[in-house]
Amino acid sequence: MKDKMGTTGLIFNEPLLWEKGSPGRKGLSLPRRDVDETPLDAALVGDGPDFPDLSELDVVRHFTKLSQWNFGVDSGMYPLGSCTMKYNPKTNERQASIPGFAGAHPLLPESLSQGALELMYDLQGYLGEITGLPAVSVQPAAGSHGELTGMLIFAAYHKNKGKPRTKVLIPDTAHGTNPASAALCGFTSVGVKSGPDGVLLPESVAELMDEDTAGIMITNPNTLGLFEDNIRQVADIVHQKGGLVYGDGANMNAVMGIVNIGDIGVDVLHLNLHKTFSTPHGGGGPGAGPVCVTPELEPFLPVPRVVKDGDIYRLDEDYPLSVGKVHAFYGNFGILLRAYSYILSVGTYFKEVSQYAVLNANYIKERLKGTYHLPYDRPCMHECVFTDKHQQEHHVATLDIAKRLMDHGFHPPTIYFPLVVSGAIMIEPTESESKETLDQFIDAMKQIAQEAVDCPDCLHESPQFPKVRRLDETAAARNPCLKG
């Protein structure tokens, strides 16, 4: 196929909700009034919100049109690095909508919630097996919530030892949530520079690690898509000074069945079920960020824990060293359920999932290196990071390349992250993409590189096909208009 995949189609304009409708319309089926109206102190009563009145079809058309301005994994390849935009199986949605689960009240007695508790218990077991860290809490609601939980565990662990510590080491390749989560727990984050190969050097860690440092947060594979091959030495250094090792497991999709995270010295790890375990990203969430820890740290996990007594599943609050609760109930159960459904469907194929994810990333890396500058030319894991260095000679930047990809029918990769690489283009294809799709993506990237030489302005003027063209983000921030 020589044509670009992106093309123009019939795109509808659609006003804002409150610019539609007519007072008195309703889009919701309201029950018959079968009881009398009761008086209420007028001082407590308000005017009611100024919502528009719309019919059911008004609402359906509105959101159908809006959805058509969006690009999702079902629309096409979405190689957003660090986000693992793999296919979100349809069956997971079916399972989540079963009335017994969807309609379940969280405070039902245990006798009436055995199915949900069993599901969480078994999920804990599977995640423990996949990571090699056997004690699991599925309560955190997203990756960064898992990080926060992990940092709470760091704090509680050192406090319990009688020596609270104040600092946490964080490599320069880390995601922004790492230092932000550490800060929420009152830790000062101390940056660690990665070495010339893009990975941590044990000596850099040794230099900074001291007895006031609670531990280190490491993403492995790191955000350059490289395996931190000194992880064991780094973990030893941290452990020798009494510190703990936190693993940001956002990139677990690369190493399932390949690395036992518990064996390489990690004490606490969070997983992003909305990445590795196929649950939908929902335009920003909800996700789930279970935390997996060593047996030694189990007493610190959030409560309630889901436990099994004989054949009965129970919620257990009795963990005096626990960091407490991080969610009103038990976390994003509906997301846990989708991940569980994925795990049962994939079963023994998890190693293949990681192998193909890594194969796809290396295939792209090999075929695009030369065309795009590859700052770390070594075998990558599930993602590869290029830069715009070659294209800069023609005054074309990463942003232009990303925008042009839209015209070709692809979602752009993650750009300008990680921060240690200037003009980063971070590509994570995932195992979901077939070779044909990867080839189309590679062709598009090559055409764009050629265009950068022949017609830089074509790139500056892109994208051409979407509903809107480049938006003025500076004006949006200078004069914020946050509601209508």
Binding site: G48, Y78, A116, A180, L184, Y330, G347, R469
Partner: protein, 444 residues
């Protein structure tokens, strides 16, 4: 495996390009000492229909509507979810997209969340709302941390009738910070007793919940005045039942500086407690200390209106350890559901629906009172209330489970001094007939 597209031939061709002898060789950069030696012990994959059977079977053990009549609220409410919400949410352009980092191809999400922000500010009477927090509990914790940032004070006060589980989360968030959380007592009417406020010293923020955990509607206006006698203190209004604001005076109208709570009632399945929706709104002057994402309106190169993520310099991906919060992935799809719900119910509908919730709950309250089971509290309530039952009700409650009735939530685990009290909830999904049948069971 149907999620994995590669054929043997694909793999061979790709390995050749990569220059790896086999799949294992792809991992040569991982030192041997880091390689997993043992295979993962996972079950054989099951088919789609086996999975359906397995999940249906597990779900059948759950005490959920329509088979069970659940008179329990306490932060999770059974409201009717319109079929359009369910189906529109399955538009995969919404649910398989991520954070709208690339606005040109994310206008669907962006406009929806802008509409969400707008409708939430209108509901709560506030100036700005963010694109969501994880849930009502973490939202409250973040709100209280925000009052500390805004005032540079070190202590906050939280009413004892704020949802007990929310207070536990607040405690967790505050534990390592060194900031202090004190509790405000409950008055005999079931509302927060603010009479001791002046003795608590300099407070960054004071949080009430309305309707509170006992279902009582707080006198927010009076509370706001009392709290604002110290001009620096921020008044935080929490909630677990946003539908109440179809009827009640909004937090903003009562002087709230921050309003935050759980939005599950708006089109989101209860789903054993999550995912829900942390709604979060504030006065304009605090926008730059707010946590979470914000969507703003702007124009494109051709002057066309469009929407983008904005004020990101508050956020972790720019500001790292100095960010206002660590939140990244939020509850975007739940916010989308809430937008669809608010659009479908509309301004006229929400007034009616809200009224009906109150009136049905009042009907149960009156029916129980007639039989001698009264509420210990006199303050007006919305769709839940506390009722005191005689000795032995715990057995009745247990026996009613056999009849597929969950007759409220026992308060003993949350308020040990209220061991004879239950929290009852009625929404529009429970008809008068069903209420009557509960009363018959309880009274006999």
């Amino acid at each position: 495996m149907r999620y994995l597209p590669h054929t043997k031939e694909d793999i061979q061709e790709m390995l050749q390009v990569v220059g790896a002898a086999d799949l294992d060789a792809l991992f040569s950069s991982i030192p041997d000492e880091c390689r997993r030696k043992e295979a993962m012990n996972l079950p054989d994959p099951i088919t789609e229909w086996e999975l359906n059977g397995h999940m249906d079977c597990m779900a059948a053990s759950m005490g959920a509507p329509p088979f069970y009549k659940v008179f329990m609220g306490a932060g999770s409410y059974h409201h009717y979810i319109p079929e359009i919400t369910r189906q529109l949410l399955l538009r995969s352009e919404f649910f398989t997209a991520y954070t709208p980092y690339q606005p040109e191809i994310s206008q669907g999400t962006l406009q929806t969340i802008y509409e969400y922000q707008t409708l939430v500010t209108r509901l709560l009477g506030m100036d700005v709302a963010n694109a969501s927090m994880y849930d009502g509990a973490s939202g409250l914790a973040e709100a209280l941390l925000m009052t500390i940032r805004a005032t540079r004070r070190k202590k906050v006060a939280v009413s004892r009738v704020v949802h007990p589980l929310y207070r536990q989360v607040v405690k967790t968030y505050f534990a390592p910070t060194g900031f202090e959380v004190v509790e405000l007592p409950v008055g005999t009417d079931g509302r927060t007793d603010l009479s001791g406020l002046a003795d608590l010293g300099e407070l960054a923020g004071v949080a009430l919940q309305s309707p509170n955990f006992f279902g009582c509607i707080e006198d927010l206006e009076a509370a706001g005045k009392a709290i604002h006698t110290d001009k620096k203190t921020l008044f935080v209004v929490g909630f677990s039942e946003p539908l109440a604001y179809g009827l009640l005076k909004s937090p903003g109208a009562c002087g709230a500086d921050i309003a935050c709570g759980e939005g599950q009632s708006f089109g989101i399945p209860q789903s054993f407690g999550g995912p829900g929706l942390g709604m979060f709104a504030a006065k304009q002057k605090y926008v730059r200390t707010m946590p979470g994402r914000l969507i703003g309106k702007t124009t494109d190169r051709d002057g066309k209106t469009g929407f983008v993520l904005t004020l990101a310099t508050r956020e972790q991906h720019i500001r790292r350890e100095k960010a206002t919060s660590n939140i990244c992935s939020n509850q975007g799809l739940c916010a989308t559901a809430a937008t669809m719900y608010m659009a479908a119910v509309g301004g006229t509908g929400i007034r009616e629906l809200s009224r009906l919730n109150r009136d049905r709950a009042e009907y149960l309250k009156a029916s129980l009172a007639k039989a001698g089971h009264t509420s210990p509290f006199s303050a007006p309530t919305f769709n839940e209330f506390v009722v005191r039952f005689p000795d032995g009700f715990a057995d009745t409650w247990q026996a009613l489970l056999e009849k597929k009735i969950v007759a409220g939530l026992h308060l003993a685990p949350y308020y040990p001094e209220m061991s004879d009290c239950w929290l009852m909830c009625v929404t529009e999904t429970i008809s008068k007939n069903t209420i009557d049948s509960l009363v018959k069971e309880v009274v006999k």
